[in-house]
Subunit: 317 residues, 2 copies
């Protein structure tokens, strides 16, 4: 909701939001609702690439596009799982200053680093040019729908008005529950417990991927958060493969949902936050089987054009 209201404040139809590629699917939904265009900027294992960001902003300036926001998830990125290095944080803030672009820092997973490491918030490094979005959904209870926004005072005032017109006010009961929880419960220990649970599940997923997945698949190795990003071999379309996976009773999110431009069909997001390690292992085993049969199909179809092989049945290209 914070992101939706920030977008409402800053974006007119046709304005540009720069975001990591891939980016959080819910954020893309908000940008689309306000008819903002999304320009994706590449990441590597150290997070958003500063030079790619600079090039995108330079290009936008040349073509006369109005870039209003950089939307970024610096810690344990959803869907990729990577984290922006400390060195790059200063650099990215500097670039956004230069190009007069407001930074929206989405940090739902920041406390869920598996070694307990806490990265400095972009907001703490440049409070006047960063709007910070926080959430209790991952560290306390998602069903309460309580989060917060830290913003420069002028933005905060406008956000309060925008929130008023959107919902009048947040549910006070839920805010009181969170407030009471933080005041009376040892929430720091609870977060340590969460870190441990999710680390075990991440480990279970990594070892299962190692064991079961066919060669030519690659995946990220997150140090925190909920998800990893899997790239499948050429010729497999993760969106087309999904119904087959669901039939085998394993689900994932196709990478295509995390791009505004329709790319990402060779990727998928795996989430390890909810299932037990045993179920994660079984899920990866099933996914591997679905993937292998899809790869067989893809190879068979490769042959169709050259007349070497025909596959009968309903799933013709």
């Amino acid at each position: 909701m914070g992101l939706d209201l920030v977008t409402r404040l800053f974006c007119d139809p046709g304005d540009v939001v720069v975001a990591e590629g891939p980016s959080y699917v819910g954020a893309l939904g908000s940008f689309a609702a306000y008819q903002a265009q999304v320009v994706h900027v590449a990441m590597d294992e150290h997070g958003l690439i500063p030079e790619a960001l600079r090039a995108a902003l330079r290009q936008a300036r040349i073509t006369g596009q109005r870039v209003k926001l950089l939307y970024t998830i610096p810690n344990f990125h959803n869907p990729v799982g990577v984290t922006l290095t400390v060195e790059r944080r200063a650099e990215i803030l500097e670039i956004c200053r230069t190009y007069d672009v407001l930074v929206v820092e989405d940090n739902p997973y920041g406390l869920l680093g598996f070694d307990g490491q806490i990265y400095p918030a972009l907001h703490s490094l440049d409070p006047d040019n960063v709007v910070y979005l926080g959430s209790f959904s991952k560290t306390y209870a998602s069903g309460l729908r309580v989060g917060w926004v830290l913003a420069p005072p002028a933005v905060r005032e406008k956000l309060v008005l925008a929130a008023e017109s959107a919902t009048l006010c947040p549910p006070t009961l839920n805010q009181m529950i969170v407030s009471s929880y933080l005041a009376t419960y040892d929430w720091r220990s609870q977060i340590k417990t969460f870190q441990q649970i999710y680390r075990e599940r991440r480990d279970a997923m990594l070892s299962a991927l190692e064991q079961y997945l066919p060669p030519d698949c690659t995946w990220t190795k997150p140090d925190g958060g909920f998800c990893m990003w899997l790239t499948v071999p050429e010729g497999v379309d993760t969106r087309a493969m999904l119904p087959g996976a669901v039939a085998a009773r394993v689900a994932y999110a196709s990478g295509a949902g995390f791009y505004a431009d329709g790319s990402g069909r060779r990727q998928l997001r795996l989430s390890y936050c909810y299932p037990t390690p045993e179920r994660i292992r079984e899920g990866v085993r099933r996914l591997a089987a679905v993937l292998e049969s899809e790869m067989d199909l893809a190879h068979a179809y490769d042959g169709v054009g050259s007349g070497r092989l025909r596959i009968p049945g309903p799933r013709m290209p």
Copy 2:
């Protein structure tokens, strides 16, 4: 939130929303957020005037304005307190059909009629062209922020997607509380209790207005809901008068907030839902005193132009 999402779905910048004049201030905030224009249509003691609505839609068609929605509060209108007669309901639906305008029916007070009367919802009379907004805020607990929308299926599907991009999902805890309340508690008796409480408060306000207010003031006499609409004598500006009222420790909402076009400065909204009858009586007494001193000032200023009288002090016109 329902209204905000309906506006998001239907209104592009510059589109027109027709609404009663005056209309609910929160609704005007949503329309402004999406850069929709508001055209007000007059009410009388029987609610929205069908002929005035027809004239406004005809005029909009002539001038090429795109009217997307009629936003209406048919029962115990906020801020005016009047109720749309049953005869007019069919007529208004027919007019909106003719001009291809979707009706948004906002009905937070419908169960709070002081004689227990329930008016037929516009939605029940024309479900394909009416989006109905319901709320538990006035009949159970406003701090839960739970309400509902009844909409034609095609609109409902789009609303679900819009809600997802705005907030992901509603707070499930709050929905479960409401669901459990409705299933286990005698909420009908509770509503009868509310009707009685608010009727007493309405009566207290009406008799206090009768007793204390200067002549040349008029006000509505609501049969349900929370508020009445007071028109003050010529020359008094209810927005300018508000600081003086607050200094006398009585507050109201100036009528100007309930119009998108800046009118309503001779009106104000009085709400009797929260204070006890004793405090209502005391509040009206104080308001009357503030109003009388403002009328004295207004008369004194009337004389300034003719040179008969000058008022010293900081509040010069």
